[in-house]
Amino acid sequence: MQSFDLETEGLRKLNSSLHAQNNDTNQTAWEIINPKGSHAIAVGLDAPIEVTVLGSTGYYCGGMNKQATVHVKGSAGPGVAENMMSGKVVIDGDASQYAGATAHGGLLVIKGNASSRCGISMKGVDIVVHGNIGHMSAFMAQSGNLVVLGDAGDALGDSLYEANLFVRGTVKSLGADCIKKDMRPEHLEILTRLLAEAEADAKPEEFTRYGSARELYNFDIDNASAY
C-alpha cells in the first residue's frame, strides 16, 4: 500500500505519481490522506490501480478515469468522475452537482445522495445512486444506465437520447421528451448486474424505467412548446 499525504506532498506530485503507473505496475494500492476537499484528486488515471481517498474531495475527483478504481471514503464535490472512460469510482457519502457528467464508460457508485444534474450528458457510463438525485438529472443523456434507489427531482431526463433511467422511488417530474417505458427482460438483466456491482440492496422489479419518447429527435414546429 502506497500512502500519500496530500496536505504535505501536494496535488501535482500525487497525480504525477499516479500517472506514472502503467498496466504492469506492482504498486496497485494507493491511499490518500488529508484530501480536505481538494480539487482534481486522482484525475486522468490510466492503470489498473486502486486509490482510496480517506476523506471528502472537491471538484472533479476521478475525472476522465480509465481502468482505475477510486474509492472516496467521504463525500465528493461537483463533477465527480466527469468524462470517465472506464474503471470504477465509488463515493461512500453524497455527491454534489454533475456527478458522472459526460462519462463514456465505467461504473460510478454513489452510496449517499447525488445533487442536481447527475449523469448530465452521460455517454455510456453506468451510474448507481443508493439515495436520491436532484433536478435536471440525466439532462441530454446519450447512452448508459442511471439507477436510482431513492427519488428523482424535477425534470428527470430532459431532452435525453438513448440512456436508460431506472428509478425505484418517486419522480417529481419528467423533462421534455422523457417518458415512462416498459421494463423488458434485458433491462432487468442490466439492473441485476448493476445492483450487484454497486452492492445495492434492492430488487430489479422494484424499479421503473424511463427513456426517450424520441419525439424531439428531428425538428417539428408542432413541438415548439417543448423546445
Binding site: H39, V43, Y59, Y60, M64, A101, Y161, E162, D222
Partner: protein
Amino acid sequence: MTDKPDNTAPRTVPIQSATFSNPVNAEIRRAAATGIYDIRGGGSKRKVPHFDDLLFLGASISRYPLEGYREKCETKVTLGTRFASKPIELDIPITIAGMSFGSLSGAAKEALGRGATMAGTSTTTGDGGMTEEERGHSNKLIYQYLPSRYGMNPDDLRRCDAIEIVVGQGAKPGGGGMLLGQKISDRVAEMRNLPKGIDQRSACRHPDWTGPDDLEIKILELREITNWEKPIYIKIGGARPYFDTMLAIKAGADVIVLDGMQGGTAATQDVFIEHVGQPILACIRQSVEALQELDMHREVQLVVSGGIRGGADVAKALALGADAVAIGTGALVALGDNDPRWEDEYQKLGTTAGAYDDWHEGNDPAGITTQTPELIKRFDPVAGGRRLSNYLKVMTLEAQTIARACGKNHIHNLEPEDLVALTMEAAAMARIPLSGTDWWPGKPGTSF
C-alpha cells in the same frame, strides 16, 4: 364622348418599403410556409464596421520604412507562455479556427491540417472530437473542449498540442452547436454517441462548471491530467470582451481567443448569427484594455478571429493588440468552398456561388461541408492543403509588406499609432483617430 386616360400624367411611382423589403417579405413567407426558423452556416452577412474602415499611415519623415525583401520582418509567434511547459511556436501569426468533423468532411479536415502544417501554423478540432486525418496531418493541433464533449477523451487530450475551452463563438455567443440529421452519418454518429440521422443540438454551456470560479478549477483539472504541458486557450464570443477577458485571465488562461460576429458557424439560426454578438472591430481594444490593466498583455496571448480575409486584416488586428489571428471562412474558401466552378449546381440548390450557406444540409457541391461520399470524392485534400498553404503565405507576405512600410521588424511591433479610421463608427470602436484628426468618439479628455 369621354376623355381618354392620360398616361402621361405624373403619378406616384411604386416604392418598396425599406422596412418590409423584398428579402424581408420573402423570409416572412418562408417562415409561414415551413414553420421553422432559417438555419444556415457562415457568419454575419450584414455590413458592419470592419477592418476595411481602418488605414495604415505608413512611413514618413518621422517614421522610416524597412526595405521590402531585404530587411527582416519577423512573423513568428509563441502562444501559451504563461503556465504551459510546452508553449506552441508558430511560424506565422495566422491559425486555423475550430471546425468540426461532422460539419466538414474528413478530407476537408485533412486538408486544413496539411495546409496549416505547410505554412507553419496550427489547426483546431471542433465539436465532434479529434479525427486521425487531422491529427495525422497537423503538426500543431488544438483540441477544443466544448460543452457537448462529443468524443472527448484523455488520450486525445494528451496527444494534442493545446486545449481550447470554448465558452462562446462569435457567430452565436450563448448558443450551442447544431448538426442536422442529414450530416449525422454512421461515423459521425459513432464519434458523438448519438443515433444516426437525428437533429443534433449541442449544449450551450458546459455541463460541469458555471462561472469563472468553477472555470479556474476546470482548468486545474485539465492541467493536472495533461501534466501542465499544454497551453490552455479560452475562446469567447464577442459579447462582453472586456469582462470576459478579465475573467479568463483570472481563471488561468494561457491564451484568449476572441471571435467576432463575422466568424462563421457550421449551422445555427440566422437570427442568432445576425442579431447576437458584436463585430470583431468593437471587441479587440476592449480585450486588450483588460489585458493591459492586469499587466498581462503579451503574457497571455490574444488570438482574434471573425472576418479575417487577407494580410491587411491580419496587420490591423495585430496593430490593435492581438498576438495572432484565426481564420475559418477564409480557409474554407481557399479549399474551394463557394467556388464559381460549381455554379450550375449552386443554381440547382437555389443559390449561387458566394452565397451558398446551407452547409447543414450536407449537399455542398465542393465536397467540403458534407458527409456524402459521392460529394466528398470531388475534394482532393492534397490540392486543397496546397491552396490553403498558399493563401496563408500570401496573407503573411501582405502583413509583412504593411509592417515594413510602417518600419516594423516584427509584425507584433505594429501598434494603434500606425492606424487611422475612415468612419466615426470605426474610430469609436477601435479607439483610433478619425482620419485627418487626432480624435475619436469617447477619447479620454474630450467632451464627446
